[in-house]
Symmetry: C2
Subunit: 207 residues, 2 copies
Amino acid sequence: MEYNQKQLTIINAAEALFAEQGFVGTSVRDIAQKADVNIAMISYYFGSKEKLMEAVFQLKSEKIKLKVDSLLADDSLFPIQKVHALIDDYLARFCKHQIFHRIILREKLAENETSIGTLLMEMRLKNLEAITKLIQQGQEEGSFKASIDIPLAMLTMVGVLNQMLTSIPFYQKVHHLEHLTEDELSGHVQQVFSDHLKNLFNKILLK
Amino acid sequence: MEYNQKQLTIINAAEALFAEQGFVGTSVRDIAQKADVNIAMISYYFGSKEKLMEAVFQLKSEKIKLKVDSLLADDSLFPIQKVHALIDDYLARFCKHQIFHRIILREKLAENETSIGTLLMEMRLKNLEAITKLIQQGQEEGSFKASIDIPLAMLTMVGVLNQMLTSIPFYQKVHHLEHLTEDELSGHVQQVFSDHLKNLFNKILLK
DNA sequence: TGAATTCAAACAAACGTTTAATTTTGCCCC
DNA sequence: GGGGCAAAATTAAACGTTTGTTTGAATTCA
C-alpha cells in the first residue's frame, strides 16, 4: 500500500495519539487537529477511524521482521552473539518506536477479537518461528542447552522491554537521574537493559 | 472506606469492564447494565465515573502490600527462599486478580497525570522499599551478590508477569495446549512461570 | 472541463451527568 | 404494634456535549 504525504501525516499523528491516549481515548477531531487537516479527510482517505488504525499498524509493522532473517544467514557470528545482536535490535526498536509498541501493548490488553488482534497474533507467530531457528542453530552447534522453552524466553524478553517502556519515569526517580536530559536518560536506560538482557539470556540459553 | 453490597456490585462490574475494555472504552451504561442497577446510581454513590475508578483502585490495592512485611520478619527462611515465596505470592496475585492488574497496566500506559497515576507511583515506591529490605537481608547474610540493581530486578519480575497476562492465549497456541480446561491451563502456566522466575532470580541474586 | 481534494456544516448516535418524581427504608412517638 | 414522616434509595427521562461519519458546495489541479 502506498500513501501520499498527507496520508502519512495523518498516520503519524494518529500513531502518536493512539499510543498516548489509546484508540477509544483519541477522537478523530484530535487527529485532524494534530495533523492539521480537515476532519473529513480522515474518512475520505481511510474510510473510518478503525481503518486508520489498521493502516497505522500495517505501515509500522512492515519492517519489523527482517533483522532475524539477516542474522540467521550471517556466518561470522556465534549463536550467542546473534542473540545479543537481536536483543540490541529489539531494544533499539522499542526505544525508537516506543509509541507504536505502546499501541501494541494496549491492543494485547484489549484482547477483543479486533482486526488488529488477529494481525498481532500472526506477527508473534512469525517472530517465534524466526527466533526458533536462531536458537536451534545454537543448539546444533552445541553451545546452547538442549531443552529451552523458546516461547517462554521470547515472552521474557518482550515482557522486560514492555516493562521498560512503562517504567522509565519510575527508574529515573528511584535512581535519582533527574539531572539527565531525555536523550541521556534514554541512552542510559538502553545500556542498562541491554546488559541486563544479555546477561539474562546467557544464563537462559548457554550450557 | 466502607461500601454497601450495591456499591460493591458496581465496583466489581466496573473492575471487570475497565480491565477488558479500558476506562474510556467502558461506558457508565455498560457498568450499570452489568451490575444490574440504574444508571443514576453510579453518580449517586460515587459522584462520577472517574471517582468510581478511584474506588476500584483503592479497594483492590488495599491488601497488596502485606506479604513482604511478613516475609521480612520470618526467621525460618533463607533469604533466597523468601524471594521464592515472594515470587509465588506475586504470581498467585497476578493470576487471581488478573483483571485488576490489567487495569494497572493500562493506566501505566496512559501515563497522563491522572489521580490513579499518582496512586500507582506511590504503590511502586512502597513495594520497592519493602523488596529492597528483603534483598539487603540476603546481602548481609552473604549469599546474595553485593551489587544488585534492585529496581531493575523488580521491573524484570513485574515485566514477565505482565507479559504472562497478555500472552496466555499465545502460549497455549504454540505449545498446543488447547485440550486443557481454563483452570488446568492457568495452573500449568502458573507452574511454568514460577519455575522460570525462581530460576531467573537465583541467577540474578545469588553469588 | 472533469476528476481529485478540501472545507464548513450538519447528522444521528452515544457519552457522562442531572433532574424531579417515586418507592423503599428506618425510626420515633402514640 | 402501627401510623406518620423524613431520609435514603431508585427510577425514567432529559440534559448538554462529544462522538464518528456524511453531505454538498467550493477549490485545486491536471
